[in-house]
Amino acid sequence: MSVIYNSMYYIASGGLILIGLYIVLVKTNLIKIVIGLNFIDTGINILLICIGYIRGKTAPIFSDPGIKSTSVVDPVPQALVLTAIVIGVAVLALALSIVIKVYEHNKTLNVTKIKGLKW
C-alpha cells in the first residue's frame, strides 16, 4: 500500500508530461498541440511540488503561533511553481495568438495542410 502512496503523485506528474508530449508529437491540430504544452507544464508543476512535500507537515505559513519551524514543508518548490505557472500562461497566450494568425493566413489548423509547419 505504501508503494502506491509513495508513487501515485509521481505517476500523476509523469503521466501528464507523457500525455502532453504524445499530444504535441502526434496530434495535428494546432490548438490540441497547445493543450498538450499546457499538460506538460501542469505535470512539471506537480513534480516540483511533490519534491518539496514532506509527509505529516503543514504549509509554510506561520500565521498561527503554534506552528514550529520544524513542522513545515519545503517552501522553495512552491515559489518555483508560482513562477512556472505564470510563465506557462504567458507562453500559452502568445502561442494562441500565433495560432490565430496562422489560421487567418491558412484557414486551417491542421499542421499537415500547412506548408511551413511540416516537420
Binding site: L37, I44, L48, V91, K101
Partner: protein, 491 residues
C-alpha cells in the same frame, strides 16, 4: 565600483519606460534602445578590467550565496555580456531606420527585453534564474519572429514556439530533478556536491538539460525551427537571433557540461554532434536559393563548429571556440544586416535578384563580402584566426578520431567557400537587370554595417585586443574549482 546587476536592470527599466515616453512623443521611443544599450556597453567595458583582476560575485537581496540568487561575473560572463551589449547596440541603431511596420514601440520594447534575457542568462549563477531568463529570451524571440505578421513569419514562430516550449519544459524537468536530489539551486553549490549523487541519475538529468539548451543552440537533431525562424523574421531580428540568441544556448550547454556536471565522458560525443551539425548546416546552405535561408543554414554550420571546438576541451580548443563565437557573432550580424538592407531595396529574397548590386550599393556589397570572407576563414579577417585555432587545437589532441573530424571540417569549409564565392561573384560581376533607381542612402542603416566591418578587420589584424579576456574565459570554463570558490568563498 559599478554593480553588475545594472547590466540587467537598465535594459529592463528602459523597456518599461518606453510607453511613458510614447505619451510625450512617438518619435522618441525608437531612440530609447540605443540609449539603454549604450549605457550597458559602457558599463560592461568599465567592468572588464575589474573582472580580469578578480571575479565579481554579487548577491541579489543581500544574503550570502547559496541562500539567494547571485550574479557571477567572471571573465566568461563579462565577455559574453559585452559582446551581447555591443552587437545589440549596433542592431538597435540599424532598427531605427529599418523598422517601419506598426506597432514600432512594441518592437523596441521586445528587442530590449530580448537583450535583457540574453545578458541575464550569461551572468546569473542560479539555475532556476537561468531558466527564467531563458524564457524571457525565448518568449520575446517567438513574438519578434512573428512580428511581420505575414504567413511565413506566423508559421515559423509557431514551429519555433512548439519546439522551444518542449525544450524549456525539459530544462525545467532537469532543474526539478537536480533540486530533488541536492536541495539547492545555486549552480556552484550543485557543482560542489555533484559527486555525491548516483551517476546514472546525473546522466539522465543532464540529458534533459542538454536537450533543452540544444533546441536553442540548434544542435543537429533539434534544429528544424532555425532556418524558418531566422529567414522569416525582420532582418534586424535575424541578426540578433543568429548573432546572439544561439550563443546563449551554447553557453548553457558549456556551463552544464563543464561547470556543473564535469562530464568528460560526453565531450567526444558533443564534438561529434557539433561536426554533424556543421556538415548538415553547410550542405543544406549550399542548396538554398533564398539568401536569408542560406545565411540561417550557415549559422547552423558555424554553431556546429563552436560546439566541436568546445568538445575538444583543451584550453586552446575552448579558447578557439570562444574566438569563433566572437567572429561569428560579428560576421553573421553584419551579413544579416547587409542582406536585409539589400532585400529591402530590391524587394526580393532570391539570390539571383541581387545580381549586379555591387555597382549600385558598393558599400553594403563590400561589407557583405568582408563578412562572407571572414566566415569562410580567409586572412586577415577575424574568422581566419578562429578557424585556424580550432584546426590547430584539434591536431594537438593527437587522437586519430579528431584528425578524421578535421578532414570533415575542412570539407565543410570548402562547401561554405563555394556558396559564398558564388554570391560575391553575382554581386560584383553579373549584369544587373532591373535595378535602375536603387541608391545607397547614408544614415542609420549604414553606420552599424561600417562599424561591424571595421571591427572584423581590426580583430583579424590585432587579435591580442581580446585574447586576454578570452583566455580568462576559457580557464573559467575548464577550471570549475575556481568558479565554485568564487561563489561559495573558498570552501
Amino acid at each position: 565600483m559599478v554593480n553588475p546587476s545594472l547590466l540587467i536592470g537598465i535594459p529592463l527599466a528602459f523597456s518599461f519606460v518606453v510607453p511613458l515616453f510614447g505619451l510625450i512623443s512617438k518619435k522618441i521611443e525608437k531612440y530609447i534602445p540605443i540609449v539603454a544599450l549604450l549605457i550597458n556597453t559602457a558599463i560592461s567595458f568599465i567592468l572588464i578590467p575589474q573582472v580580469l583582476k578578480k571575479s565579481i560575485v554579487v548577491s541579489i537581496g543581500g544574503w550570502s550565496p547559496p541562500f539567494c540568487i547571485n550574479l557571477v561575473v567572471g571573465p566568461l560572463g563579462i565577455f559574453l555580456a559585452t559582446l551581447i551589449s555591443g552587437v545589440s547596440l549596433l542592431i538597435s541603431i540599424y532598427a531605427v531606420a529599418y523598422i517601419k511596420k506598426e506597432p514600432t514601440e512594441k518592437y523596441h520594447m521586445l528587442f530590449l527585453l530580448l537583450v535583457t534575457g540574453a545578458i541575464g542568462i550569461v551572468l546569473t549563477g542560479d539555475i532556476f534564474n537561468l531558466f527564467v531568463f531563458f524564457e524571457i529570451l525565448c518568449v520575446s524571440s517567438y513574438a519578434l519572429v512573428a512580428y511581420n505578421k505575414d504567413k511565413e513569419g506566423a508559421e515559423a514562430a509557431m514551429k519555433y514556439l512548439i519546439q522551444g516550449s518542449i525544450g524549456s519544459g525539459f530544462i525545467l524537468i532537469g532543474i526539478a530533478l537536480l533540486y530533488g536530489i541536492f536541495g539547492t539551486l545555486n549552480m556552484a553549490d550543485i557543482a560542489n556536491k555533484i559527486t555525491l549523487a548516483n551517476p546514472t541519475f546525473l546522466f539522465i538529468s543532464m540529458a534533459f538539460l542538454l536537450t533543452g539548451f540544444g533546441v536553442e543552440a540548434a544542435v543537429f537533431p533539434l534544429n528544424a525551427w532555425l532556418p524558418d525562424a531566422h529567414s522569416s523574421a525582420p532582418s534586424s531580428i535575424s541578426a540578433i537571433l543568429s548573432g546572439i540568441a544561439i550563443k546563449t544556448g551554447v553557453y548553457g550547454i558549456a556551463r552544464m557540461i563543464y561547470t556543473i556536471f564535469n562530464a568528460e565522458g560526453v565531450l567526444t560525443f558533443v564534438a561529434f554532434l557539433g561536426l554533424i551539425t556543421l556538415l548538415i548546416g553547410e550542405m543544406s546552405a549550399f542548396k538554398q536559393d533564398d539568401i536569408k535561408r542560406l545565411l540561417a543554414y550557415s549559422s547552423i554550420g558555424q554553431i556546429g563548429l563552436v560546439i566541436f571546438a568546445l568538445g575538444i576541451a583543451t584550453s586552446l580548443g575552448v579558447f578557439a571556440g570562444l574566438f569563433q563565437i566572437v567572429s561569428h557573432a560579428l560576421a553573421k550580424a553584419l551579413l544579416f544586416l547587409a542582406a536585409g538592407y539589400m532585400i529591402y531595396k530590391v524587394g526580393s529574397k532570391s539570390i539571383t535578384s541581387l545580381n549586379g548590386l555591387g555597382k549600385k550599393m558598393p558599400l553594403t556589397s563590400f561589407a557583405f563580402t568582408i563578412g562572407a570572407f571572414s566566415l569562410i576563414g580567409l586572412p586577415p579577417f577575424a574568422g581566419f584566426i578562429s578557424k585556424f585555432l580550432i584546426v590547430y587545437a584539434a591536431i594537438q589532441v593527437k587522437k586519430p578520431i579528431f584528425l578524421a573530424f578535421i578532414a570533415i571540417a575542412l570539407i565543410a569549409t570548402v562547401i561554405e567557400a563555394s556558396y559564398f564565392f558564388k554570391i560575391v561573384q553575382n554581386l560584383f560581376f553579373k549584369e544587373s537587370k532591373n535595378l535602375k533607381n536603387i541608391t545607397e542612402t547614408s544614415g542609420y542603416i549604414v553606420i552599424p554595417i561600417i562599424i561591424l566591418t571595421i571591427s572584423i578587420i581590426v580583430i583579424g589584424i590585432h587579435p591580442q585586443l581580446i585574447t586576454g579576456l578570452l583566455k580568462g574565459a576559457a580557464s573559467e570554463l575548464l577550471g570549475r574549482g575556481g568558479y565554485i570558490a568564487w561563489v561559495l568563498g573558498g570552501s
